[in-house]
């Protein structure tokens, strides 16, 4: 980067190398200016004012929001600045639920850390008396407004990086707070539960829901056989919780720790990642050969799957029907391994260690329970596993490495790189010989699909066919890619989507790192781990081959479909009331309830015009007092939009031209007669 000027920071000369704000330059000079609301991957918001500096001829400014210019003279540590920072902290603390000892964020809380750093010892402002209800509604995320300091980090993360925007500021002044629309619980809005908000929240206002107590209980129960699977991304991040650097590979230590904690069998999700490649790859081949729906989108990421169900119901046929590696594991463990070990599946508890919060949601999806039994019983995040190890009290440093159990403990390098953005794609590319019948093996390493870019592309020629692949790294990148595909600008065969930036290594359940390079380092760690393995192509996994031989038959067989595939549905974004359009108050005999969907899918296909035509026609025919007409949001039948519901029966493809005949004459009048 060329140097385009110099500024003076506390008497030090610091070069300007294209930084877009003063804060970056000051931090480059080795001064750790405190911030709550600044994250380099988000827009500058300038709310917390902790990063104030004194600039000659400018006065006191928030350094995050000021562009540096040549010749600036900046002071970062003056009497006035110290006083301002301390006052801000005091004011924040006055409104804050200060029950630190029982807070899950204690010792990792930014507010706690800075209060300590700036020696805030007594508060002049008393204590707030307002208590808000804590939102426990989702299986993944807990929101405690009493701990919110209104920095808006979660708001910008959700809107800017994930493009979802379910959180925003609401109300004003002393009543201001951050939360979902209409103050609803998270479970009633379109939160995909990716947990990225929990990774930027400086306090305990947004945290992941912990299941460690349930897992301890299962471990303590002598009747239960507890199996555990570890996702690839955990092995390059857990060490950070014990003072190691991001990206250090600690697989062997994790296995040893899990045995110490009392898990009976320790397995690797990389095994079912390999299984996913076989199933998903063959699904793709069959789509390609039989003219099926393309592009095929990956389905490993539960945040992405929920996003599609809510925002792109038209793409549901494009999503691979494969369960995610986590759910495949749950399925094969309870169905086949339990049988092979002569265990009653009811006595088997499957625990996953995941870098993810949405996996908690996924494990609780009704599709993944059979006879009241979940395929995956509990999902712990990387952070929760660290907590269990600390709770147990044994020394992490002294743990001798151990290896996974067979048969589901063997994963290939292709399975390991699943944790990185582009990893699934690279794993597919490594197996094109087995999947597409290429004459020779492709190379192992595909550099074009690696790295942290939002969108990546690759083309591979197999037997004269160009297979083109694309990778979306974050949900906002996925949205961009979808727009390009739907507008016809781009065409792909396979699209990989991971909701979290960086892929699973940047998941919402990972340790919260102060190192801005943490994601890149973890990614490098996984590629290193891959390099160290003997088998690096999924289809060469001998235990996967054995599983097919013993139980599944061949890829995409009936049995494989039963155990390893699933279906997706349309999902309402927000729960709420209908719009009353023509409604007679009070119940009467012989009335018909008619509702027209005004949800996004139907709205974009002209459902308002259908509603309008219905209104006019009903009025014209003098039926106004016998028909209750509503506008409503989503019947979860988006593939047939626009939809009209008559007395509980939803039918799709309703156009304005159908109003007189197929809606009023065929569906409404017969009920009225």
């Amino acid at each position: 980067m060329p140097i385009n000027g110099y500024i003076t920071v506390d008497n030090m000369k610091v070069p300007l190398e294209g930084e877009d704000n003063l804060l970056k330059v000051v931090r480059k000079a080795g001064i750790d200016l405190p911030t709550f609301c600044y994250h380099s991957q988000l827009s500058s918001y300038g709310a917390c004012r902790m990063c104030v500096v004194e600039v000659e001829r400018m006065g006191i400014v928030a350094s995050c929001s000021v562009p540096p210019t040549d010749g600036m003279v900046v002071r970062t540590n003056t009497e006035r600045l110290r006083r301002i920072r301390k006052t801000i902290l005091e004011l924040l603390l006055a409104n804050h639920d200060r029950e630190c000892t029982t807070c899950g964020k204690s010792s990792q809380c930014k507010l706690q850390e800075l209060s300590e750093r700036f020696a805030v010892s007594d508060l002049r402002f008393g204590k707030g008396d307002k208590r808000y209800a804590i939102d426990h509604s989702t299986p993944a995320i807990v929101r405690d407004p009493n701990k919110c300091i209104l920095c808006g980090d979660c708001v910008r993360m959700c809107a800017e990086v994930q493009g979802v925007g379910i959180l925003d500021f609401m109300y004003r002044g002393s009543k201001a707070m951050v939360g979902p629309a209409f103050g609803k619980p998270l479970a009633e809005v379109d939160c995909v539960q990716c947990g990225q908000c929990t990774t930027v929240c400086p306090t305990g206002a947004l945290m992941l829901k912990s299941y460690t107590a349930d897992v301890w209980k299962a471990l303590d129960d002598p009747k239960k056989t507890v199996m555990v699977q570890i996702a690839p991304a955990v092995r390059v991040a857990l060490g950070e919780e014990f003072g190691m650097k991001p990206g250090e590979i600690v697989t062997g230590k994790i296995v040893a720790a899990l045995r110490r904690l009392g898990f009976d069998l320790v397995f690797d999700t990389c095994f079912t990642a390999d299984l996913t490649i076989i199933e998903e790859g063959n699904e793709f081949v069959s789509r390609l050969k039989n003219g099926g729906v393309l592009p095929q989108f990956t389905s490993c990421c539960p945040g992405w799957v929920k996003y599609v169900e809510q925002y792109h119901p038209e793409l549901i046929p494009n999503i691979s029907s494969c369960k995610s590696p986590q759910q495949m594991f749950g399925s094969v463990a309870k169905k086949y391994l339990a049988k092979d070990m002569n265990l009653d599946p009811k006595d088997v508890v499957v625990v996953s260690i995941m870098p993810c919060t949405a996996k908690k949601f996924e494990a609780n999806r009704p599709e993944f329970s059979h006879d009241g039994m979940k395929d995956v019983d509990y999902v712990l995040s990387t952070r929760e596993l660290a907590r269990m190890i600390k709770e147990a009290g044994f020394s992490w440093d002294d743990l001798e490495i151990e290896s996974f159990d067979v048969p589901f403990g063997l994963g290939t390098g292709a399975g390991v790189i699943f944790g990185n953005t582009g990893g699934v794609t690279e794993a597919v590319l490594r197996s094109t010989q087995a999947l597409l019948g290429a004459k020779t093996d492709t190379p192992i390493v595909f550099n074009e699909v690696r790295g942290l870019d939002g969108i990546k592309e690759a083309v591979v020629n197999v037997e004269g066919i160009d297979i083109s692949l694309a990778i979306a790294n974050s949900l906002s990148a996925a949205e961009k890619l979808i727009e390009e595909v739907q507008s016809g600008k781009k065409a792909y065969h396979i699209i990989e989507v991971m909701a979290c930036p960086g892929g699973c290594i940047g998941g919402g359940g990972q340790p919260i790192s102060a190192d801005p390079e943490a994601k890149a380092k973890r990614a490098r760690g996984l590629y290193e781990a891959d390099k160290g393995l003997m088998i690096r192509r999924s289809h060469e996994n001998p235990y996967v081959a054995e599983l097919y031989k013993q139980h599944l038959g061949e890829a995409n067989s009936h049995e494989a479909h039963e155990s390893l595939h699933t279906e997706y549905g349309h999902r309402k974004r927000i729960l709420g009331e209908d719009i009353k359009v023509m409604v007679t108050e009070g119940k009467r005999e012989g009335m018909v309830d008619v509702a027209v969907c005004l949800g996004t899918s139907c709205y974009l296909k002209g459902s308002y015009n259908v509603l309008h035509a219905l209104m006019n026609k009903i009025d014209e025919m003098g039926l106004a007092d016998r028909v209750n007409l509503h506008g409503t949001f989503c019947f979860e039948n988006c593939h047939e939009s626009p939809c009209v519901k008559v007395n509980g029966e939803v039918k799709g493809y309703a156009g304005t031209e159908d109003v007189a005949e197929s809606i009023i004459k065929d569906r409404i009048l017969p009920i009225l007669k």
């Binding site: 809107a159 979802v164 925007g165 379910i166 959180l167 925003d168 500021f169 609401m170 109300y171 004003r172 939360g179 979902p180 629309a181 209409f182 809005v189 974004r573 927000i574 709420g576 009331e577 209908d578 719009i579 009353k580 359009v581 023509m582 409604v583 007679t584 108050e585 009070g586 009467r588 005004l598 949800g599 996004t600 709205y603 308002y608 309008h612 209104m615 009025d619 106004a624 007092d625 007409l629 506008g631 949001f633």
Partner: protein, 165 residues
Amino acid sequence: MTQDLSSARKFEKINGIIEKNGKSQSALIPILQAVQTEYRYLPEEILTYIATALGIPAATVFGVATFYAQFSLEPKGKYVVRVCDGTACHVRGSMPVYDAIIKRIGLKEGKFTTSDLRFTVETVACLGACGLSPVLMVNDKVYGQMTAEAAEIIIDALLKEEGLV
């Protein structure tokens, strides 16, 4: 058991409002203003509909609607009584005026609208008529130099008009 045809007309107007202002995020405030004029408040389901039509998150719409005191998320009464409690009105006794109105209408603590949706009573920071302080407004009509007794007379007249006394 009466057919509420006005709700159909109201809902039809919303689309007109959205079309007129354009489906962009920057049109949100004028849309909300026009919708509130139509419904006298902003029903949740209508806000969801506006979010859908503009293609923006419902949380954003709700955030804007709750930021401005001018927007109401609850139905307002037929008569909206605004008692000015700006500095000038406050020092000249706006609170006794306010208390007298609350008492006359019979509003319970924490309630600002009567259950029959006839009256809403609120305080505002300044009506810009400090020379007439204390001031109150009933819908669009301004009353100056208020006293508790004068306010009671105004409310009594409205109650009479509604046939309530």
